[in-house]
Subunit: 368 residues, 2 copies
């Protein structure tokens, strides 16, 4: 039988680790005690304990196998299966995940991935520089000016701040059109495209209207916040409009930043968003205003986004959260060639010297 | 100016508490240092520190006011605003929330609420008994049989397990129709309706097709998991089809069960799901297989769901997670008259005696 294998880190388990593992296997699969599950159903659908390994004085690794059928071929149901009810168990952290090829094929992963992004911006051999359009409350012309300056100076990826959201569709169209035109104008000058990603949010008609505008403008992708919108909502929206998407990690810190609880960054902002089809994943990494306090997170998350995984394309790791231009080259050296560094406020603070600073950092990224 | 006020509990703050409060106010509103924000925008949109109160040796309450405009009248954007980026800050827990009336009116809250549920099932003066249809893998006839037995015995609310999800729309229709017919047949016998809530999930056409079937069958509501699907996706789906909905807390434990991080149960599974329009909210409460280890959670969550709040209707508190029939009356006494107790596996374990057990518990709930 094809199994989804999930590894949970149990810290100071509240009962015998073997028994805890059996409980999790049941809780997450059929949510009933064994004697109430008919044998035929148990054989087909009950989670199985694959291994219980003691790691140190207080921690155990519990490896559980779930029949792949339980995910119903849907990323939302996979989240349920991996961590839905067990999120209420004390000191259980999801740290590992492996899926059978058939399920990977069905979930499909990124449409464009790193290669598609590099094709679009014609940058094949260096780490990428990304920035954010902010602050909310500015006029469309201000954002467009910023977009044009960044693109002309050689910046690679330009994303809307995740708090840019207009109630009125016409206002969204006005702002996003202005930025799209600015990026096009810059491309006409430089001969190279910058990837502009407007932020879209919400659901139903509200979301749909915004995606139609983005696609209609010939833009290639969007920013979405899957841990606010729903991972499956975001994935399905991008697929419907054949757009790339950047997954912003808003709200996910409650999972990733806990020590003995939640979901590791590599699984949450690496594996899960890649499986769901995000082409770019932002995660905090090290340094800057927002940084993970989990040491190995950065490398493991990059690995999860880019390592061979069935037929899935690699997603672009992007570290963000108050990173500085000065540290961008060093950060990129740590993350590897296939990464982006997101610099927001520090770039804005350069004022008149913004273009020169961008150009200088891009040339350092090129040289490294 | 109308402010959304959020209270954050800071435990062992990593810097001066006043400075931390200022940082959060900026991070969550405009995500820029003050000197980069034009004055006109700061005046309109920058978050403000309203109070910094020391609670004990290690904890401070940071009260921040956000201009209501920042929520853009949308529940998803409100989540961003309250906890998006700050979810990555160490030891910050959202524990309090107050919204201006205008925003409450716009978000609207439950369509039916406690009164609407009581109208539907004609039970006006006692706590309610709810159960779950499981396990996944059973035939529609099995679920329908269970539904009929529970409804005939006098049970009030019947929900699908949140892992019931068919890939194929026809299979969903088959199972849900069978259960709907069973509940109708029971109502014909007893003269009283049981509220049956099928589980719907996903997004776009997949979700839409299932909601159409539910509404087409004349059923009054659904189960959704807003912390998997997205709170706004769930809210909008229910509104579009004029259905009641029960919010299941899958995945939310990472927020609520942390000690010094995340979001309190009362805000997350109380205030936020009520504002989003859930008519019923399941939370762990005390006792049973899944129980919160936060002592005051139960009472505070009930209060958040039912207290006067603008024009919003009260949502029904429902405690679940392995609760037993035996303890249902005692649990209901603790939670108050306007509550439901969800008993799943323990009810199934009664076998032949299920009807008698249900009838006995309902009569005890009546008598108390």
């Amino acid at each position: 039988m094809d199994l989804i294998t999930a590894t949970y880190l149990a810290t100071r388990p509240d009962r015998d680790p073997e028994e805890l593992a059996e409980n999790i296997a049941r809780e997450q699969s059929l949510e009933l005690v064994r004697e109430l599950i008919p044998d035929a159903i148990a054989e087909r659908l009950l989670g199985q304990v694959l291994a219980v390994d003691r790691l140190d004085q207080r921690r155990w690794a519990l490896k559980i196998g779930y029949p792949a059928e339980l995910a119903s071929g849907r990323i939302g149901q996979l989240l349920h299966l991996l961590y839905g009810n067990v999120s209420f168990y004390p000191r259980i952290r999801l740290t590992g995940l492996a899926l059978p090829d058939e399920l990977l094929d069905e979930l499909a992963g990124p449409r464009a991935g790193i290669d598609g992004i590099r094709q679009w911006i014609s940058v094949f051999n260096r780490p990428l520089l990304a920035t954010v359009l902010k602050p909310r409350g500015s006029e469309p012309e201000y954002f467009a000016g910023l977009a044009r300056r960044f693109a002309r100076a050689g910046g690679d990826i330009l994303k809307d701040d995740q708090n840019l959201i207009e109630r009125d569709t016409a206002n969204f169209r006005r702002r996003v059109s202005a930025c799209a035109r600015a990026v096009e104008a810059a491309a006409d000058e430089t001969g190279r495209r910058c990837l502009y990603l407007p932020h879209v949010a919400g659901s139903g008609d509200f979301l749909h209207a915004r995606l139609e505008i983005v696609a209609g403008l010939g833009l290639r992708g969007v920013v979405m916040c899957p841990w606010v919108m729903g991972l499956e909502t975001a994935a399905a929206a991008a697929r419907e409009f054949d757009l790339m998407w950047l997954a912003h990690p808003a709200m996910a810190g409650s999972f990733t930043e806990a020590d003995d609880h939640g979901v590791s960054t590599a699984v949450m902002l690496g594996m899960l968003v890649r499986i769901a089809g995000a082409d770019i994943s932002i995660f905090p990494g090290s340094g800057g205003r927002i940084a993970s306090h989990h040491e190995p997170d950065e490398a493991e998350t990059c690995h999860a986004l880019t390592r061979p995984l069935g037929q899935l394309k690699a997603a672009l790791p992007c570290t963000g959260g108050g990173k500085t231009l000065e540290l961008a080259p060093e950060t990129a050296r740590r993350l590897g060639n296939d990464c982006a560094v997101l610099v927001g406020g520090d770039l804005l603070s350069r004022g008149e010297r913004m273009e020169a600073s961008v150009a200088s950092v891009v040339s350092r990224l090129n040289a490294d």
